[in-house]
């Protein structure tokens, strides 16, 4: 059972119009830049996929990665906790122009909704957002004398995740704070595609060190020396590059 995919284009070939796609990363850390750019390449060549619902903590930065996906017009709705960042000009302009829908979710609730989706738990109660605008319309219940807000699970058709080392069975480790949403999103998508910086044979990863077990992963593709969003933005990169 080898889950290796031959290239990035093959890895994102199954994503269709209107799908929900979870994209790992917190800001630039853990952002699967190359998988996102492969998806943009497909859209530029075929006009698909479009009308996507994207789940990410943020709304992208600059004109690469998630921001470039939004800028290309492929995203109809964003589910995130913090769409403001150093340079979120792409999302901001499209949101204020009414061209993209936003579902704002507190960060811990976003994580737990994804975890619940992956764990087969349709709803849960959290103290987060009780009494605030973000709890409007949601059921509230008291447990041991305190009020809690009911939140629903979050699942996706695809997850695009960046990991550090992975084996051909899909067992994964992550790199530092690049882990963030990755292990959760891997569990919550029908099809999880992971770009790994080092693709290894089974047995090369210490079983004690595996963070995401391969059962949650459907495809791995090796991207050695992946780009960092922060570096690209400091270099004022734009994706796709504008033809001169």
């Amino acid at each position: 059972m080898d889950k290796t995919m031959p290239d990035l284009a093959t890895a994102v070939a199954g994503i269709e119009d209107g799908m929900t796609v979870m994209i790992g990363g917190f800001g630039g850390s853990g952002a699967p830049i190359e998988l996102i750019h492969a998806l943009i390449d497909r859209f530029k060549a075929t006009e698909h996929p479009k009308g996507l619902t994207v789940v990410n903590n943020n709304a992208g930065n600059g004109h690469v990665g998630l921001a470039a996906l939004i800028e290309a017009g492929m995203v109809a709705k964003l589910i995130c906790s913090f769409p403001r960042s150093a340079d979120p000009v792409v999302f901001t302009e499209m949101y204020l122009a009414g061209k993209i829908e936003l579902e704002l979710v507190p960060q811990g609730t976003l994580a737990e909704r994804i975890r619940a989706g992956g764990a087969g738990i349709p709803a849960f109660y959290t103290p987060t957002s009780y009494g605030t605008d973000l709890a409007k319309g949601k059921p509230v219940a008291e447990f041991d004398g305190r009020p809690y807000v009911q939140e629903r699970w979050l699942k996706a058709d695809y997850a695009l995740v960046k990991a550090h080392k992975g084996d051909t069975l899909g067992n994964l480790t992550y790199r530092m704070a690049g882990r963030n949403f990755g292990p959760l999103m891997c569990t919550a998508a029908t099809t999880t595609i992971v770009q790994v910086s080092h693709l290894l044979e089974p047995g090369a990863l210490d079983p004690e060190a595996v963070v995401t077990p391969g059962i949650f992963v459907q495809g791995v593709v090796e991207v050695s020396d992946p780009a960092q969003e922060e570096d690209l933005n400091r270099a004022k990169a734009v994706y796709p590059e504008v033809a001169q």
Partner: protein
């Protein structure tokens, strides 16, 4: 009106209340400065909600590793004992009552402990991040804020007028004029700048400052 504390002095004052070994989350911006002023002999363990416990200070420019950032997306460093974890574990630490202290910024704080710090109204792009999670679960939820807005309006109020982050969650407020506890739905004045009168401080506060026992002088060194 006497000199108010600088942001660094407010952060210094808040740092004096953090015990050795405490697990602490510092919000983006001014609260982050608290880490710089830990008293000698004490070492808190700092949590950042994107998934690091026990991180070190900022690296030298040019030495950044962009997989090693804090919740404000600024580069940090490793130190002995650092741990990484995913977001569900990170917010289990937050909501599960495992943090000793969370320190946040504020637009407004009400005498019942309500906090408004995420939205100034319907204009622009709304963003909440981890603030609504952080106000639940930490044993102490403290706020660092100027006592008044830039145009002189009180930020400590009978009731918040801006959208709430959390209900009845704040336990202590550090301002550039005073230290105020929130107990039983009331502001209790604990410390004030020596040079400001009680009347003047009350006039800059949008709810009654109650006094229980002595009010200590709020003094902070030049930092």
């Amino acid at each position: 009106m006497s000199a108010r504390l600088t942001p660094a002095q407010m952060a210094w004052r808040a740092a004096q209340d953090i015990a050795d070994g405490a697990y602490v989350n510092l919000g983006i911006g001014l609260p982050e400065m608290v880490a710089r002023f830990q008293p000698p002999g004490r070492e808190a363990v700092f949590h950042t909600e994107n998934g690091i416990l026990g991180f070190g200070k900022a690296p030298e420019p040019g030495q950044e590793d962009w997989d090693l950032i804090n919740a404000g997306k600024k580069a940090v460093t490793l130190k002995p004992g650092t741990a990484f974890f995913h977001h569900a574990d990170s917010f289990a630490m937050v909501r599960g009552g495992h943090l000793d202290v969370a320190i946040l910024g504020a637009y407004q704080v009400a005498e019942n402990g309500d906090l408004a710090n995420w939205s100034t109204g319907p204009k622009g792009v709304p963003a909440v991040g981890g603030a609504m999670d952080l106000v639940h679960g930490a044993k102490q939820v403290a706020v660092i804020t100027d006592h008044t807005t830039k145009d002189g309006k009180p930020k400590l109020l009978e009731a918040c007028t801006l959208p709430l982050t959390g209900v009845g969650c704040v336990t202590r407020v550090y301002t550039n004029l005073a230290v105020v506890d929130i107990e039983g739905g009331r502001f209790i004045l604990r410390e004030k700048l020596p040079a400001i009168s009680l009347d003047e401080l009350q006039s800059l506060t949008g709810a009654t400052l109650h006094i229980e026992g002595a009010v200590a002088d709020l003094n902070a060194p030049e930092v």
